[in-house]
Symmetry: C2
Subunit: 403 residues, 2 copies
């Protein structure tokens, strides 16, 4: 390929040769490992009965991208997209350039990258598989306090990308968007961050109110089986889950003028340790019967913790929270000095029995409501993983999409 | 403080006591250090002849916040703001809660936080010190290819916050905005990220085109003295610098259809190593005389590297680049599938002799121009540091602002 070719055109003919020269650069990877103590080359397995990015300890950064299937794309088209995306994700998450990717330097720091795919309600109409759509796969009923913006509403397909390196995350997100461009257009992207727990899974991340978020998450395999993973005779669904996404605006202006005791009362937990107000350690069980010197309950029954805890007769009302903070520039002309909140993501077997009744209680009464507003809502079915030893052509949702 | 007080009001009376109880939580810090190998407690010194955040190796995340001084605020008001902000920054960057901050848990992972302050052209009018304004402190002249959006234009004051932990960065940014709220309003905020170089300063960060950005940066103290730091008999200015901010949109859609050879020709360097096309290693000097088998120069004279390199007779035309990537959700309805680019930040002694003539050459001819557009521009004077052993009341710009 000569200078002249470049100056008169895009040299697309040379792309194949360039791609062939872009096999995984082992030297570059080894170098990066030695030089980048904070990011580097740690990977999360892509294969397995479940998709990664759900039970995986939360990484520092997340892009959640929702897509609309283009007009004219049918089941065969969606199947092709899923084959493409599954292959791309299986390589990107392992620090390997996908086929056709011209930028192998951008994937040498996989940094725990996970890519998780989900299907929105309408996808089952598009692929002509309405009867396979689980009865729970529909928009979450609107709650009284919701102020939902359709700009963060339901979509046909979602990709959740999480990574400890923001540059790798940007590149992987970009690759997936471009790779699917003939089949889907981007409907919205929600971006978030947190302080990752490092090697201690008990270091629960904090949100921008300073509250530890996710203390009561299921962590043991048995818990995850009860709360998160779907049992199904259908291969594509077995080991899958349901993702509920809520965009929650948090009013820092008014929250921050509260003193610490008031914040703890509203939350039900201590700010420093995350312990229930009746305890000393984060993972202690709260004592809702305890009263103070005036005979008032130590834990306010209207506190966020008390309202979100599952009642004793509803042991199944639990979810896996995997929320990310967002903090964007203040909207010009807005009275608020911030534009911050939570990309609240939770996983469960069935939102009708888990997220929705919990949120119904919170919507009715939760001290924290004064400082938050739900402004976006979407629900997705997460197909099962590709299995422990996937074939090269195994893809997400395969037995649903195949003829 | 009782439940009743909380339910009927904000309990502001108790805030003093709560603050007193929020001295630096040593135990929490020690715990975080043990538990958070990737983030943790490393700090960058705040004191010194120069402000931190300039010669400091780039951290993973940046918020650049520009402010407008509120009507009615005069020199005394700006001096009070600088005293407040200098004290806050000196504590936040060392992992200590600022006075009056109710969230000590949010600063236990300083993670190399730096906070750097600069003054825009109009500030010298506001404080009635027009004669102290350096002659170079004015908007950068508009170039022929500029498509500047005033939403990213000149401002009165800027804070650059950089940190390896995005949550700490969000909290510190929020604290500074709130702390200055009586004096300034937020004009814009630009956010960026990169893969930090870790312990090897030769690992130059890449931008979203995959190009290593900043290879020829000055690194040695003598170089920094020649390129970056201002010598002045005025205490407030000595050891300071000039920050030029350019928001540069990068068109990934069209860049990505180029093959690798074309990208390297446009850049003048190899994609993998960052070496000049005439060399093998990143820091090798380019050989602009070398020709290929057709007698054409190996390094295109119109390549970005060739055009940005200072001519032999202009040894002073160098800058310290400290750019961050941005990658935001695509604008709804836009034809582009991305909204990405560079928050280009550079430091120098005098932009009229450094940034502006370099950019003039690039504006006239640079192969990369086809894929980029400058959409924002601002210039700031960075006052010197608070010195090696600052008094408790020493603040940025003190000898300029004092009566």
């Amino acid at each position: 390929m000569s200078r002249r070719t470049f100056l008169t055109g895009l040299s697309l003919g040379a792309a194949g040769a360039a791609t062939a020269a872009c096999a995984q650069p082992d030297n570059a990877t080894a170098t990066a490992q030695a030089e980048q103590p904070r990011h580097g080359t740690h990977t999360i397995a892509f294969s397995g009965p479940h998709q990664a990015g759900i039970a995986t300890p939360a990484q520092a950064h997340m892009n959640l991208v929702a897509f609309t299937v283009r007009a004219g794309i049918d089941r065969q088209g969606v199947a092709r997209l899923m084959r493409l995306w599954t292959q791309d994700a299986s390589r990107l998450t392992q620090g390997q350039a996908p086929l056709g990717d011209l930028e192998p330097e951008m994937v040498t720091s996989p940094a725990n990258l996970t890519i998780t795919c989900g299907f929105g309600p309408r996808l089952f109409d598009i692929i002509g598989r309405q009867q396979q759509r689980p009865q729970w796969l529909h928009p979450i009923p609107e709650f009284s306090r919701d102020q939902l913006d359709d700009a963060y509403g339901e979509a046909d397909i979602v990709l959740q990308l999480c990574c400890d390196d923001a540059l790798t995350l940007a590149h992987a997100t970009r690759h997936m968007i471009r790779s699917g461009i003939d089949y889907v257009s981007t409907r919205w992207m929600q971006q978030g961050f947190l302080t990752p727990p490092g090697h201690n899974p008990e270091e629960t991340p904090r949100n921008l109110f300073g509250l530890k978020d996710g203390t009561v998450n299921p962590r043991e395999e048995r818990d995850l089986d009860q709360v998160v993973w779907i049992d199904s005779p259908d291969t594509w669904l077995n080991g899958g889950s349901c993702m509920v996404v809520r965009r929650i605006a948090m009013n820092l202006d008014t929250w921050e003028i509260l003193d610490r005791a008031s914040r703890e009362t509203a939350f039900g937990r201590k700010l420093d340790t995350g312990a229930p107000l009746t305890g000393q350690e984060e993972f202690q069980a709260p004592d809702y019967e305890a009263t103070d010197e005036y005979g008032l309950p130590v834990i306010d029954p209207m506190s966020h913790m008390a309202r979100s805890t599952n009642p004793a007769d509803k042991p199944g009302q639990r979810i896996l929270r995997r929320a990310y903070n967002y903090d964007q520039p203040p909207v010009p002309g807005s009275e608020s000095t911030s534009n911050a909140g939570l990309v609240f993501i939770c996983f469960q077997r069935n939102p009708e029995e888990q997220f929705t009744p919990i949120q119904q209680r919170l919507d009715e009464a939760d001290r924290i409501n004064q400082w938050i507003t739900h402004i976006g809502s979407a629900v997705f079915l997460i197909p099962g993983g590709v299995g422990e030893q996937p074939h090269q052509d195994t893809y997400w949702g395969q037995s649903l999409l195949e003829n």
